[in-house]
């Protein structure tokens, strides 16, 4: 018993010893955290408008471009909703851009924004070896034109975006769910969708499928 007490005491001492160290560690962490922040502004010093790709796109299709961003060597165009197909046709066919490959289409949900949905297109050129990102922002219930006429692979990517976020694509040849069952309710990658599925779904499933081991 005495030994245990001693141990407890010694543990307590150790804890007390560690406490004063904690603020120092925090400071160190802060310094560390501060360091990359100092490094980060070095990047945006690149003047976006001098990049040949940005120059070319702004020159020809400038009316569709709302904003250009440059982060970690990647160019992002914020595109007006109505210009996306036109711009994609241009990017694919122009001899200076030649984006012949649609890498993917992504949907993102930002519930706090005025236009809560964002559709992101990643393009790649197999001949010029460069990449670009296009973004379209959409309000709730707003549709965006499908880029299917430009790259046929968009059919599946856009179906996935529709499935996961409920963003609708106009003139899509076959817009339906792809990963989830056809009778699924809701769109899981929306931020308001519960992580463990709709309430009661899990319990109902267990009741229906695991009758013998039903202990819930």
């Amino acid at each position: 018993m005495a030994g245990e007490k001693e141990k407890k005491v010694s543990k307590g001492e150790v804890k007390e010893e560690r406490k004063p160290k904690a603020p120092a560690a925090e400071e160190a962490a802060k310094k560390k955290a501060a360091a990359p922040k100092d490094e980060a502004p070095q990047e945006p010093q690149v003047d976006v408008d001098t990049l040949p790709l940005v120059k070319r796109v702004k020159e020809v299709k400038g009316e569709f471009i709302e904003d250009v961003k440059y982060f970690r060597g990647e160019i992002t165009f914020l595109v007006k909703k109505e210009g996306i197909v036109d711009l994609c046709h241009f990017l694919k066919d122009d001899s200076e851009t030649q984006f012949d490959f649609l890498t993917e289409v992504i949907g993102t949900h930002y519930p706090e924004r005025e236009k809560p949905f964002e559709v992101v297109y990643h393009l790649y050129s197999t001949s010029k070896k460069h990449r670009v990102r296009l973004k379209v922002q959409l309000a709730e219930d707003e549709e965006v034109e499908s880029v299917f006429p430009v790259w046929r692979s968009a059919t599946w990517y856009e179906r996935e975006v529709y499935d996961m976020l409920g963003i609708r694509f106009a003139n899509h040849p076959d817009l339906k769910r792809i990963l989830l069952p056809d009778d699924w309710e809701g769109h899981p990658l929306r931020k308001d969708y519960p992580l463990q599925g709709p309430p009661g779904y899990r319990e109902a499933w267990i009741k229906a499928h695991c009758a013998s081991t039903n202990k819930l």
Partner: protein
């Protein structure tokens, strides 16, 4: 079978029979369901084939049977916590999946990975490529009817899995990579054992060639089957060995060299046949090239000492921003798009799975072919459903 008298138009019975035949024996498309539980669909893939006789006129692909909501899960996990999930994407090439993920996070945070870790990563990724291609060759050949190749390939794959086990204790779901390096250094004896593999593998690859490269049945099942041009392939999202089988010189390891691929000597495997056979040749050549890369890495690793982990903060909190990083996984372009809001968890993580994109072109490839060719086509594009459904 029918008596002549019955078919006589003049008789009442003949008229009735003719009407009956017109109504019931119409020539029409037949819909055939293939999968999801079918040995040659390599997982749970369902195809609905519209047939005219035995020719395919249309195909619908039904996926999602293995959907686990990885992207939703990622939003609830910290960056290091999500790493083991990436193993479960393409579960037969987990190192490559880890690679794509850690590269994306490192790009986001601006971490420099130590040289030794870079070489270990490249070596592991290439060993994974060999093992993944071995499984592909084994199952593809088995689907078409060559049993021996299957046994041979699994024998060599076992050697690679033993190496993985040595390095990280696991054979399939390795989780060996870390944000900033690898989990720990290579154990003693690893380099010797890996060298042994590199020494015997080219001979074994020759054995596979001897078995099927000029085999008449193999040729008649693969040559000129499921042709797709490079341009059409790109339009349909085809990447990796599949697009290289259509004569497109595109390998991310060469075109946008990540890690240390630009310091190593190897060639892109490209074929111009555009058919199932060309994709087979590409993968066989790729295995040999990967073996070359592994032995070069071993030479360097023997002399190169140093840390295998960069200095990474304990809590990984990338700055606000978004990045896309991609690697050449055994199946094609694997990309991770991460949106960070400055918190320890990704705000949005999207996985660009190569198998998912490669499946898009299957209906185009199989149109006009026989039912039996569907099996050769699915084998040739090498899908893993863990990655398709995520």
């Amino acid at each position: 079978m029918m008596e002549k008298g019955l078919m006589d138009k003049g008789s009442v019975e003949g008229q009735v029979t003719e009407d009956l035949m017109r109504d019931t024996l119409k020539t029409r498309e037949m819909w055939l369901n293939m999968g999801p539980q079918h040995p040659s669909t390599h997982g749970v893939l369902r195809l609905i084939l519209a047939l005219e006789g035995e020719r395919i006129v249309d195909t619908e692909i039904v996926i999602g049977y293995l959907h686990r909501g990885m992207e939703k899960l990622a939003e609830a996990k910290t960056y290091p916590q999500f790493l083991p999930y990436t193993d479960r994407l393409d579960y037969i090439s987990s190192h490559a999946m880890n690679f794509g993920y850690v590269l994306a996070v490192e790009k986001l945070m601006g971490i420099e990975v130590p040289e030794r870790a870079q070489y270990i990563r490249v070596m592991m990724a290439e060993l994974t490529r060999i093992s993944s291609h071995l499984i592909w060759l084994a199952t593809h050949a088995l689907d078409i009817g060559a049993m021996t190749v299957f046994l041979y390939c699994f024998r060599e794959r076992e050697m690679i899995l033993d190496l993985f086990e040595m390095a990280c204790g696991a054979r399939l779901t390795t989780s060996y990579f870390r944000i900033g390096g690898v989990a720990h250094d290579l154990p003693d004896g690893f380099i010797e054992q890996a060298r042994e593999f590199c020494k015997i593998f080219p001979k074994k690859a020759q054995d596979y060639d001897d078995l099927i490269l000029k085999n008449r049945i193999w040729l008649s099942r693969t040559v000129n089957v499921a042709k797709i041009s490079g341009e059409e392939g790109l339009n349909l999202g085809l990447t990796g060995p599949n697009i290289r089988g259509s004569g497109v010189y595109w390998d991310i390891r060469k075109d946008e060299p990540y890690s240390n691929y630009d310091k190593l000597d190897w060639e892109i495997a490209v074929e111009h046949g555009c058919d199932v056979y060309a994709r087979y040749l590409v993968r066989l050549k790729e295995m040999r090239e990967s073996c070359k890369i592994v032995s070069q890495c071993l030479d360097i690793l023997e002399k190169l000492d140093g840390p295998v982990m960069a200095k990474v903060p304990k809590v990984i909190k990338p700055p606000e921003g978004e990045v896309y990083a991609s690697v050449e996984a055994p199946k094609g372009e694997l990309g991770f798009y991460i949106v960070s809001d400055g918190s320890p968890k990704p705000y949005r993580l999207k996985i660009r799975a190569p198998s998912f994109a490669n499946l898009i072109s299957v209906p185009t490839m199989v149109r006009g072919h026989m039912v039996a060719d569907v099996i050769a086509v699915i084998g040739s594009i090498d899908v893993v459903l863990g990655e398709v459904d995520r």
